[in-house]
């Protein structure tokens, strides 16, 4: 590894972190504005032009909140939990290719941080690890509502995880690779995989929404039931870390959905360059997230489990079989 490679990796890492944190900040604003539009109100529009400085104001407010650490918390775990959440959320993006290889400053720079042969597994693994943050927060808080939230996180994980993994097997069979770059290139050559794997796309999307704990699967925080669930006892920036993790996870699974099913950075026309295509697709899926949140009631956690085991898992298996038969016959 040359010095140039190291510098390149450092710069890319920093860009990823800054980009994701910015995406988080503006996702909160975007969500609130869209929700406002859907709910006959305007959403935050007072801080800065069109409310664009609202995330800054929120950040400053959270930074200067009182630090309330309840009695009886398991202090190391209590502080570790939000860190785990945000670390796994930010790391998962490492293998997602945001564009083809560009020549910048006379150097061929691939637009992804890393491209290794198990890239897809890495994203899934990081996503699953994120659940630890929530479970630990629930346990460490010494609060019954938090505990219930943490347990729900575990219940949720075992409900969607199988279907999430299986829904992607069909893609692996078509692309023949776990490398996300190879998957995007496969789509750039042929059809976007949403056209050949529509069932897998639906299963993935449902599971991914469950993985990011978003409505209608926001069981772990469910303010009407568990007040705030796992983050009930967190204030200020510590709470912000959970919030950050949640939104960054949304961005990541949207980016993954775009990469796996919607052609990633590949666009049908040369209107936009690669990264902008990807961004447009991510925003599309994020909008879907917000629309779902505004529309749907919340599932109960036994119902989510039933959905996962009785519907998504068999359907995902069916999808694998159909894909296998299809590939064999078309060979």
């Amino acid at each position: 590894m040359t010095g140039g490679d190291i510098i390149e990796a450092v710069v890319k890492s920093l860009i990823i972190i800054v980009a994701l944190l910015t995406a988080f900040a503006y996702m909160t604003l975007y969500e609130r504005r869209i929700l406002g539009r859907m709910q006959l109100r305007s959403g935050p529009n007072r801080v800065g032009p069109a409310g664009l400085l609202q995330p800054v104001a929120d950040g400053v407010k959270l930074a200067f909140k009182q630090a309330i650490t309840p009695r009886g918390v398991d202090k190391p775990l209590y502080l570790l939990a939000p860190a785990i959440s945000v670390v796994t959320a930010l790391s998962a993006f490492a293998v997602i290719p945001v564009g083809p290889t560009y020549n910048i400053f006379g150097r061929a720079i691939p637009f992804h941080l890393a491209d290794f042969n198990v890239g897809l597994l890495f994203v899934l693994a990081m996503g699953s690890l994120g659940a630890y943050g929530i479970v630990l927060a629930g346990y460490a808080s010494n609060n019954k509502y938090s505990l219930l939230g943490g347990l729900r996180a575990a219940a949720q994980l075992i409900s969607y995880e199988l279907a999430l993994g299986l829904s992607l097997v069909g893609i692996l069979m078509i692309s023949g690779s776990l490398s996300l770059t190879a998957i995007v290139e496969g789509q750039a050559r042929g059809l976007w995989y949403i056209l050949v794997q529509p069932l897998a796309f639906v299963i993935y999307l449902i599971s991914a929404i469950a993985e990011t704990n978003r409505a209608p699967f926001d069981l772990v925080e469910a303010e009407q039931e568990l007040v705030g669930g796992y983050h009930t006892e967190y204030t200020g920036l510590r709470f912000a870390l959970f919030f950050m993790a949640e939104y960054i996870n949304m961005v990541t699974v949207s980016a993954l959905a775009a990469t796996l099913f919607l052609g990633g950075w590949h666009g049908p026309f040369d209107l936009l360059s690669g990264p902008w295509w990807l961004l447009a697709k991510i925003i599309l899926i994020l909008t879907l997230y917000v629309v779902l949140r505004a529309t749907l009631p919340r599932l109960r956690y036994d119902q989510l489990m039933r959905l996962g085991w009785h519907w998504l898992l068999p359907l995902a298996l069916l999808n694998v079989v159909l894909t296998a038969i299809g590939i064999t016959l078309l060979q």
């Binding site: 990823i16 650490t69 290794f116 870390l241």
Partner: protein
Amino acid sequence: MRAYVPVLLLLGFVIANAVLIIGISHLTMRARPTPVKSSAYESGIPALGDARERFSVKFYMVAMLFIIFDIETVFMIPWGVYYRQLSCAVPLLASGVCPPGNISFFGLGEMLIFMAALLVGLIYVWKKGALQWD
């Protein structure tokens, strides 16, 4: 291994970022605890008992099944990646396509047997009511 170095680097930055934010929170957020404020929230009144009592987890059976099924899923991933090769009697062409007339049902049959075993297991636990934890 080289491909992993940038990821480790990112991981380092990300951990530093988390530590930094928690550190900042220690500097900017001031604690003014009072006995009531620092009690655990339980709808605004003193908690009944403790959150660390023995607690019933209804879905542990599903959780055990999950581990079994998850491992089976993991087996399918390498199979999926090599499926094109497995369904071709001769080595694939460089373009990743099977030469015509060389279809093999080996990969398909192999996985169908595996999947049948998995499905039988799923149906068994389903009928046994192991997924009905309520």
